[in-house]
Symmetry: C2
Subunit: 331 residues, 2 copies
DNA sequence: ATTAAGATTGCAACCGGTTGCAAAAATTGT
DNA sequence: ACAATTTTTGCAACCGGTTGCAATCTTAAT
């Protein structure tokens, strides 16, 4: 196997404690022994076993990164940001794919077995059993991209979806659309519910506006396309706020298939601002979620929670921003 | 902290070994004690500490999953498949983002510190220093989506890029294109080099065919678009084999911007067959890499290499397949 | 009932580190 | 040069498990 502390100690002619202390900051070692140890370590190619040390220190520096969004391109960007940020902070992401087929119980047990220091759930919904299990085990959980106050015993970082809904509605109204559609994601999704609430609130305050509400079966291209095709058969609205960017692209494809165009015939505003939204052939007007900030803040929060296990659950909400592009008629 | 083996032993009235053995398969425990232990464990909510046990068994069941492809949507699918497959096999992916800015040395040390059992590098290129470092540490490495024989001391699973090039060329020739373009990825990329070789080989054997070769700056939408815009200024070919699907979509966008259409004015064939390629508004004819097979095979191979550290480096190549869609003129 | 073979059990040492404590060494002050 | 401090060091116990070994208990066979 690999070189161990003991071997380094022997070669350096010091005790094992001395070696250990050279690699523990804040420990007392004279420059002389440190030098000797470092020399021996280099010669042997020693690197300390993080797992063994975790046994006594109680810190693995492992963070469970849990998600079920393995089909939304936005999450590739999110994973990129998370892995980098965690690496920068000296933490290691243990990735868990929590897709429907996979057993949550199992993932849970697994994360406990590996004694992760903390958990980041990057998903719009968080299973309550999950939150509870980690809470019981005193493992900090941050729900990233989560719903504010959905689970009171968990830190949450994300956007205010109600406000996103309002923002979408205001944007459409400002452009003079009178017949407006809300084409949401799956009916039960909390994100959909919240956005719809904000959306309807603003529309309700305006005069002479007609609204249509419908839902796609999933946050996916296919579902967005199917939903829009259905809309086009009945009398469609002039512009739609779509559940997310992927759905929006599906909707755009439906519009195109019907021989229509955006924004000339139907306007679309999406949500997320994933990288693809600014591709010239898509050029989607959308509401941007500040994913970098959400990620950075999530990591910061999980670290803070690590240091103070009894820290009060906290919600951090970031504001979104309309990205003007080409799928809504101009102001 | 969490419940330990000792506490379970006390409550069950047996020795620590007995408890340990209940959770080690193949160990000798009577049904009676097993029952007692399991009862006590349940009551206490015990789950064994995988890290502590790794200390003696020398197996962490941690697999380093290293990639630098955090901008190619195909890799979201790849990560999905990898995480699921590894989970199914009882292994845990420790994700490492090896983007240019991040220090490879650092990642390397990290993976050693966490004593990963094996490493899967999901990237078209593998730094030789990486391969060597793991080889020295006797940690099996599988280079997934790698180049055959690029590094002789490493297992590799992927496709034969030379054959992909040939396939692309044959496909274009079969459709009667006479002026053909190879619009590759970055010049130095081995994948580009290999595909080009196969492509030119077939073209060279055909009669009366004109070829143009050019390279995009990266496997990205922007680069693909820029490269195609440039092509369109000079006399473009009738059809192009593009470096990958993302580049192809960029190229399509350029064609559209120029007021032209695929396949009427210019044909495009891509490579990868990422999910998006079959979206109706893209409908890209492309060469499919069997990513599920590559992933499954990679996981299987890393497991095999785990069991036999002296297993001979092996290359597993899968064949690709043309996916007929709408960006090439029909046969 | 007696014995040999097989299964089960606990002891104790070990995996690769960390850390409290007391002894030893170095430093300071006079 | 000597005592009082401060720093550095090694010992030994511990973190949470595993495992070889010898002792004990079962079971089967005579």
């Amino acid at each position: 196997m690999a070189i161990t502390l003991k071997e380094v100690a022997e070669r350096a002619g010091v005790s094992r404690s001395a070696v250990s202390r050279t690699y523990t900051d804040g420990a007392s070692v004279s420059p002389k022994t440190r030098k000797k140890v470092e020399k021996a370590a280099k010669e042997l190619g020693y690197s300390p076993n993080a797992l063994a040390s975790s046994l006594t220190t109680g810190r693995t520096k492992l963070i469970g990164l849990i998600s079920n969004n393995f089909h939304n391109p936005l999450f590739l960007e999110v994973f990129d940001l998370f892995t980098r940020r965690l690496q920068e902070k000296g933490l290691r992401p243990l990735l868990v794919n929590l897709t429907d087929e996979t057993d949550p119980e199992h993932s849970l047990r697994m994360l406990k077995q590996y004694s992760v220091d903390g958990v980041i759930v990057a998903s719009s919904t968080l299973l309550p059993e999950f939150a509870k299990a980690f809470h019981d085990a005193k493992i900090p959980v941050v729900h990233s991209f989560g719903r504010f106050a959905s689970a009171p015993d968990v830190h949450v970082v994300g956007v205010d979806n109600v406000e996103c809904g309002r923002m979408a509605a205001r944007t459409l109204l400002a452009r003079g659309y009178k017949h407006i559609g809300f084409l949401g994601g799956p009916k039960g999704a909390t994100s959909t519910i919240d956005r719809r609430a904000g959306f309807m609130e603003v529309i309700g305050q305006a005069k002479g506006i007609k609204v249509k509400v419908s839902n796609a079966a999933a946050y996916s291209f296919e579902a967005g396309r199917a939903a829009m095709l259905k809309e086009l058969k009945a009398s469609p609205a002039e512009a739609y706020f779509c559940g997310d960017d992927v759905m929006s692209i599906g909707a755009l494809s439906a519009i195109e298939s019907a021989g229509l165009a955006a924004p000339e015939d139907i306007g679309i505003i999406g949500l997320n601002d994933m990288e693809m939204a600014k591709w010239e052939n898509i050029n989607l007007t959308t509401i941007r979620q500040p994913i970098k900030q959400i990620v950075d803040s999530s990591v910061e929060l999980v670290i803070a929670a690590l240091e103070d296990r009894y820290r009060h659950p906290e919600a951090r909400l970031f504001s979104c921003q309309v990205m003007e592009r080409g799928t809504l008629r101009p102001l």
